[in-house]
């Protein structure tokens, strides 16, 4: 996308077409209820999270009775569970993963490492606050929180989804400039992901005044179009 294209994008959010179906609200409630009762989670576990989270899934605490089950690819998942510190190198992968998930998507930061860096506060290689790089729905503090706390947190997320309050995935589109700016601060100005977030924001009708800005301008200057990989035997 050239920089001149920037002016052609309508910045004001288009309003959604008015819904005429009288059952639309009932249907929305049903979908929200099903969303809250069926959450597929993708866990990005580093360090202690990889050890402390399995008890929450297996026999003793059994997440499946709440409809939560682990999935293996971002496309299938609803929740991105980030337990433990994210180093600058792995944060790139976390962002790639997050952008590939289908909406609505939820991010849960577990452990104090995702809240403020935790014991890695002084490390030069660790991203301190997760919510500077992607919107986080819920933090579960602790070092490391016990399975009871994890399940309590997931139940709070279920309530938020049921009450239509877990909308932070929309913030990523509405405030993309802010998140991209923080990402560029860490990874340099050449940073780009394969996902066209601005294009997605247009399709979701989530273009806000904060979506485009100086950082997206830099992105559009350096962005190389995605090309299919060369087939080689």
């Amino acid at each position: 996308m050239k920089s001149t294209d920037l002016d052609r994008i309508e910045v004001n959010p288009k309003t959604m077409p008015k819904r005429t179906n009288p059952l639309a609200n009932v249907f929305d409630d049903l979908v929200r209820f099903c969303r809250s009762r069926s959450m597929f989670m993708l866990h990005y576990c580093t360090g202690c999270g990889a050890i402390e989270l399995p008890p929450a899934m297996t026999s003793r605490f059994d997440m499946e009775r709440l409809g939560i089950q682990p999935m293996v690819t971002p496309r299938q998942a609803d929740i991105l569970l980030i337990t433990g510190y994210v180093s600058i190198k792995t944060l790139k992968r976390v962002i790639l993963t997050y952008e590939q998930m289908g909406s609505p998507k939820y991010v849960i930061g577990i452990c104090s490492c995702t809240v403020n860096g935790g014991m890695y506060w002084q490390s030069y290689a660790t991203a301190k606050k997760l919510d500077e790089y992607m919107p986080v729905d819920l933090y579960i503090a602790g070092c490391m929180p016990r399975p009871e706390a994890v399940i309590e947190g997931l139940q709070q997320l279920m309530d938020k989804i049921k009450n239509d309050q877990a909308n932070s995935w929309k913030q990523y589109y509405e405030n993309y400039d802010y998140y991209l700016g923080n990402q560029q601060k860490l990874f340099g100005n050449n940073w780009q992901t394969p996902t066209d977030v601005i294009g997605e924001a247009e399709i979701y009708r989530l273009m806000g005044p904060q979506t485009l800005g100086e950082h997206t301008k830099i992105l559009q200057q350096v962005q190389k179009p995605m090309e299919p990989l060369e087939m080689k035997l």
């Binding site: 979908v31 499946e64 299938q76 289908g102 294009g199 979701y204």
Partner: protein, 301 residues
């Protein structure tokens, strides 16, 4: 005449719907049994439905192309067509005109549809998964076809309606399982392999190839595959019940038989890890094929 055509059309519409609802409970039973084996509580009653509604409610603007979309429709459609050929108590649909050979053919369509669809998403895990799925199909289809041949030879017909009628006329002594026990064992083996559960789970393998064919499927695509799974469980168990357990006299005995047949492979599945591809082919081409051939020899004698 017109009345009977209308009735047939109604049955053809109703049979996949019934299959879907029964299939949802089969998925639930499978997950509950797995939970009980692992000493967990397991999912609530409507969990399979929640999953499907949620997946269809997800938003995505990712497209892997037209063939990818058509592949999912083929995968679900193959089974929907198969349901119309599977007689259930009170509804025969077009079973009398289709027969076993058409049914065996239709049951291969979903795998081929998936192969078409997954081929376009260009994910290496998906390609590995689908090549494994087709290899597994090659493995379990051989004992499956031999078993079907044996049963058809024994009853002198490939018409499922008349096979069921013959078995029901003679009572339990006339059921396929009491007249052809060796074929019934081979059939159960092939059924287990066709479900793609452990230890024959080579093409899903979440820890190894990230669920293989499903790797790029999110939202509605994955929802389609969840719907396909309900049909898959239903088709496999109903076919086995029709061939060996005398079909259904009424809905109560029919459903009890179906769920009992499905419970056997499921109970075995969650106790095992996974075979490698070549081990699976070696195993499936050796034991069930040998058993099935022995069973056919007894039947033809």
């Amino acid at each position: 005449m017109a009345n009977s055509i209308l009735l047939t059309i109604l049955e053809v519409i109703l049979m996949p719907l019934v299959a879907f609802i029964v299939g949802l409970f089969m998925v639930l039973m499978m997950r509950k049994l797995a939970a009980k084996l692992q000493r967990r509580v397991g999912p609530p009653l409507f969990q399979p439905l929640y999953d499907i509604v949620k997946l269809y409610g997800k938003q995505t603007q990712i497209s892997h192309g037209l063939i990818h979309d058509i592949g999912i429709i083929m995968a679900v459609g193959g089974y929907v067509a198969a349901e119309a050929l599977l007689p259930v108590p009170g509804m025969d649909g077009i079973a009398a005109k289709g027969g076993l050979v058409t049914l065996a053919y239709l049951m291969m369509v979903p795998s081929l549809g998936l192969a078409l669809g997954v081929g376009q998403c260009a994910n290496p895990n998906g390609s590995i998964g689908i090549s494994r799925a087709l290899t597994a199909m090659l493995a379990y289809d051989i004992p499956f076809i031999i078993v079907i041949f044996g049963v058809a030879y024994h009853f002198g017909s490939t018409n499922l309606v008349s096979i069921i009628a013959t078995q029901q006329a003679e009572g339990i002594a006339g059921w396929g399982i009491s007249e052809m026990p060796i074929l019934a064992i081979a059939g159960l083996f092939a059924l287990h392999a066709s479900l793609g559960k452990q230890p024959f789970e080579i093409y899903i393998a979440p820890a190894e190839i990230a669920t293989g064919p499903m790797v790029e499927m999110g939202g509605k695509f994955l929802g389609g595959l969840f719907v396909m799974q309900t049909f898959q469980l239903y088709t496999a168990s109903v076919l086995y019940v029709s061939l060996f357990l005398g079909g259904g006299e009424n809905w109560v005995t029919f459903l009890i038989k179906c769920f009992a047949v499905l419970a056997i492979p499921v109970l075995i599945a969650y106790l095992f890890p996974r075979y490698r591809t070549e081990d699976l082919i070696r195993l499936v081409w050796k034991w069930p094929v040998m058993l099935a051939l022995l069973g056919v020899a007894f039947v033809m004698n």
